[in-house]
Symmetry: C2
Subunit: 726 residues, 2 copies
Amino acid sequence: MYIVYSAVGAGVLALLYSFWKTAWISRQDAGGERMQRIGKYIADGAMAFLKAEYKVLSIFVVAVAILLGVTANQESSHWLVAVSFVVGAICSALAGFLGMRVATKANYRTTNAARKGLAPALEIAFAGGSVMGMGVVGLGVIGLGSLFLGYEMLFGFGGEENTTKVLNVLSGFSLGASSIALFARVGGGIYTKAADVGADLVGKVEAGIPEDHPLNPATIADNVGDNVGDVAGMGADLFESYVGSILGSMVLGAVFVSELAGQDQFNGLSLVLLPLALAAIGIVVSIIGSFFVRVGEKGNPQVALNMGEIVAAVLMLIGAWFAIDTLLPSEWTATGILDGTPRTFTAIGVFWATIAGLVAGVAVGFVTEHYTGTGKKPVLNIVKQSSTGAATNIIAGLGTGMQSTAIPVLIIAASIIVAYYFAGLYGIAIAALGMLANTGIQLAVDAYGPISDNAGGIAEMSEQPPEVRERTDKLDAVGNTTAAIGKGFAIASAALTALALFSAFMSQAGITSINVAKPDVMAGLFVGSMLPFLFSALAMGAVGRAAMDMINEVRRQFHEIPELKAALAVMQKYEDPHDMKGKDREIFDAADGKAEYAKCVEISTKAAIREMVLPGLLAIVAPVIVGFIFGPESLGGLLAGVTAAGVLMAIFQSNAGGAWDNAKKMFEGGVEINGKIYKKGSDPHKAAVVGDTVGDPLKDTSGPSINILIKLMSVVALVIAPLIKI
Amino acid sequence: MYIVYSAVGAGVLALLYSFWKTAWISRQDAGGERMQRIGKYIADGAMAFLKAEYKVLSIFVVAVAILLGVTANQESSHWLVAVSFVVGAICSALAGFLGMRVATKANYRTTNAARKGLAPALEIAFAGGSVMGMGVVGLGVIGLGSLFLGYEMLFGFGGEENTTKVLNVLSGFSLGASSIALFARVGGGIYTKAADVGADLVGKVEAGIPEDHPLNPATIADNVGDNVGDVAGMGADLFESYVGSILGSMVLGAVFVSELAGQDQFNGLSLVLLPLALAAIGIVVSIIGSFFVRVGEKGNPQVALNMGEIVAAVLMLIGAWFAIDTLLPSEWTATGILDGTPRTFTAIGVFWATIAGLVAGVAVGFVTEHYTGTGKKPVLNIVKQSSTGAATNIIAGLGTGMQSTAIPVLIIAASIIVAYYFAGLYGIAIAALGMLANTGIQLAVDAYGPISDNAGGIAEMSEQPPEVRERTDKLDAVGNTTAAIGKGFAIASAALTALALFSAFMSQAGITSINVAKPDVMAGLFVGSMLPFLFSALAMGAVGRAAMDMINEVRRQFHEIPELKAALAVMQKYEDPHDMKGKDREIFDAADGKAEYAKCVEISTKAAIREMVLPGLLAIVAPVIVGFIFGPESLGGLLAGVTAAGVLMAIFQSNAGGAWDNAKKMFEGGVEINGKIYKKGSDPHKAAVVGDTVGDPLKDTSGPSINILIKLMSVVALVIAPLIKI
């Protein structure tokens, strides 16, 4: 059991690292009064949202925990699953909370540091991201590891029956993490897009004020949105993926306990423990990697981030090799869930499966980068199609998104076959874990993005000189490739993790076949395939309604607050508000702080909380209904459908949104179409803005939520498996 | 065998009816010289496209036939499948050809008749549609029936082995029909949308000339497009569905031959023959129904069309009841493909399965009508969201399309379970056939739409008085509900037919399980789910490229043809070109006939032919590759994926497109949003036009093609089944 202790130890190390970095950030210069005031608005808004969200979620958590505790009162299940569930939910919420608190501290300090130069700004932004990253992996490993330890003590160490029971109870942890993640992603996604669309449509388009301008009442809500959507939402998301892939591998490893007993040093548990060991190694190498993220005054931040990731990845490979070689017997024979006859497994095979996962993740990432990257052919095509208007821009974007599914799906399909070939279903699970073991540093790089973005917004609102905004923009622009690869990892690992959980469900439900030729299973497949469509529709509708609320509120303030009205009228006269002088400047300054930011924050908060409930419940209720009425095989069909269609819809929506976004960004620097140069404000640029707005809810609300949806439904199935066992 | 003879007889009757109607249409007054000239342009353009298309397809047909003949040289398969394939392809092409020839005769005669009144115009337009409808069912039944008869004679009557062989050889007919249908749908869809988008974007938006105006060089191509896309394309589409559902039922009926022998009057073949009998009854009741489509001078054309359909549907139900009661034993016991133990089947069960299919089709139709109908809540929501711009209009449309998948999928899933409950897999096939047996009259109603649409275009181009256009618009507007129900039938029957063909494939390939828990099957499921996305992307990209070609050509003509340039300049001065007088009128008239319509027709033709090849081949090659490399079970996974994801994508795209279209149409009459009235030309209307343009390729190119895609892939699998049998 020393492995579990070391895993928990690594988790504690990660938390210590993250506290240390938090303390360091708090010590940095927070800048002038105005900057601090704006930073405080954002931090307060973000906390207000989290509070409101957690209040609703705590009701949900208590209700589900009671339900789990009560229904579990049968020999096949255990009430402790409710405990795991609550702990998982709390850890997930805590990870989101810690990450967001530090992000809302780091953002304005990054702005302030950007006044001095690029290097100090990068340092603070990345430190903020790494607190999030380490917090997520630390809480994940501590939670899983200590619960596992506790349950092993309770039910008895080793043995197939005990282990199955332990892992079934432990699966509640993953259920807690996934439920919170889905609500956080959906709620955060609705919040951020409602504020964004509202701020843009009334502020930028109708009133003509620049982005992130303090006159716009929705601008604080917009910046709060970046935090609750991109930081807290993403943190909960990756916490869920991380925990799901570890748990899925553990459950599939438990299939071999009896057959391995006596062959390994852990009483047959080596395959169950390996995932925790890999996670522990991932934490250590992430911390090491984070020290390589340094940039000189003239250096390139992109290179710095890449360096950190590459160092961590190489170390991870070496570490994985040693862990697999040390912990697993070099060869064993066993009958897997799907194998009729025993087959031989090897330690090296497990290692190759890990590699297959990593290669697939990187490959999907590069394809993502190709389809969404600035200057690449698909985005250039969207830019070109913008010259004939919004309609052709939209058609091109939809086409790009749909086409971008082809190669990733072939890669995922190949990785499934290869991982299975080398190490059975366990191989598929471990391939997913291989991609996610380095979540610590990957998430640090991901979360660094919204912090820099926020820093830019604060620079604008506190009217910093242009070079400060330029520096934060530069920070924000780098890391696109790393972010694309991160997205590739997220999608590929979601597919593989869902499959692993799905197989884990079969093992726990005692079925060995999901025959889609059977009508009830086929019906399940149809309904499952439909859920990502319905879910996306609900999310999009929610964003639309919430944005409408926001638009009406902003319009009201522009009408009813006299100072705002006057300042807006004055502003129309100037191209650049910085040029204002004399009486105009006075009127303009009089409006400062008159916009009722809190009202907008409240509207976004209320709308997001209200709208997240239905899609969230859909994901949890659907597998329960199908499972109890039609049985485990139909439920298997449902899971197969939601996984396949979900992966497709997630890739389609994320990439279409990403491509539209970058097509719009290309106009900001000016682009050439058929020999003419088009800039910001030209008709093709306006068409590209329409595309970007359409893409926003796709790529930031529904798209990423689907990754969680498919795993959550598999986890729900896994948890109820003992109850519907045939 | 008297049933097969009667079926062929009914087919001959249908063809006679269609020749009779054709002759009647030819005798109608063709109108003035100008009208006839325009009619001839359209007819020539349509024929030119068909010729070019059939030239390419004949190479494809010959190549595949040789391939089928050569590879079939093994004991499990037979070279006659190549013969069936060629006959199926020819019948499908012939159905498209006959339908389009009469449609291009009926269109300008309808315009001419509309000068007199609504009733005579309806009569001609509906007669044109019914020629198409009867041609399709006639050729289908004659082709299938006579080949079946011939093969039975060759291989020997009855007996399980013979029947399986006969039906495997016969499946080539369905393959021929499906391949031609896919190419025709895709090619026709690309043609019509390229011409439409090209004509609209340059003609209407840039040059400001009204729709269907003779000055627009692309206007003839646009009207040709309606014929090749909506008439020939739809004809081939329904021919394929019709044939596929008959064949699928026959193959699944053959499973019971041994067990039924001695129990029925056909040496065990009763379940194989029933589909042909139902088809024959469908023809007779369709002809009867068509006589009920009559309208008085003051009457409502909608009521007339409904009357025809309802009479036919009621008679069909009665006929089906008698056929099932007469032909089938009232009860028999047999082991189906999926059943481990024998179960009892009943004739009444087969009847209930038919009803289940009909109810599902009608229900899906009503849901379609709800989500896409003018004045219904979802379309009103899109109208409302247009007030904040194109982006919110697009988001609302996408959301509506996605949401509209939910209930239809639940209905389809329920109908699968119910049909299976009553009559096993055979029940699923017969449910699909129940929806399609009345194809004769359904297609007549469907094809009547584009004929009326064309008639309106000709009225505009030949400068008829406004009341003529009003009458043709009225004709075009009715039948929306019937068309929506037709769409519901198309989607639901495609899903069930695909399942039937899919089960038929399993039976022929000798597998009883498609276990998606197996990694290679799961990989197949992923790849299969991806194909509708890739296919849609290819179709959309093709429309984009072809439209660009068209736009450039129209711009060139406006620049290089002096008479056009002058007339355009003159026209800008007038709100309504009819007001032109004096010198302006002279300049304007001088431009008449100067636009090079043929060039635009040629561009659309070339682009459509060029672009249809890749998506078409994709559909045929994918199952072959997967089947031969990974075996029948993986291929089953592929089929399950393409069917589930395909049904979703088809519903999503068709309904989103339909909803956008009607949202735009609502502005033409003026709509109220938040207390303000918006009309044609207002900003919200422009936003709605963007949505409509985005929806065009979705609803007219990729959406309907996917229905064929999923069946074609199942048929390909069915045909190669003996070769990959394990």
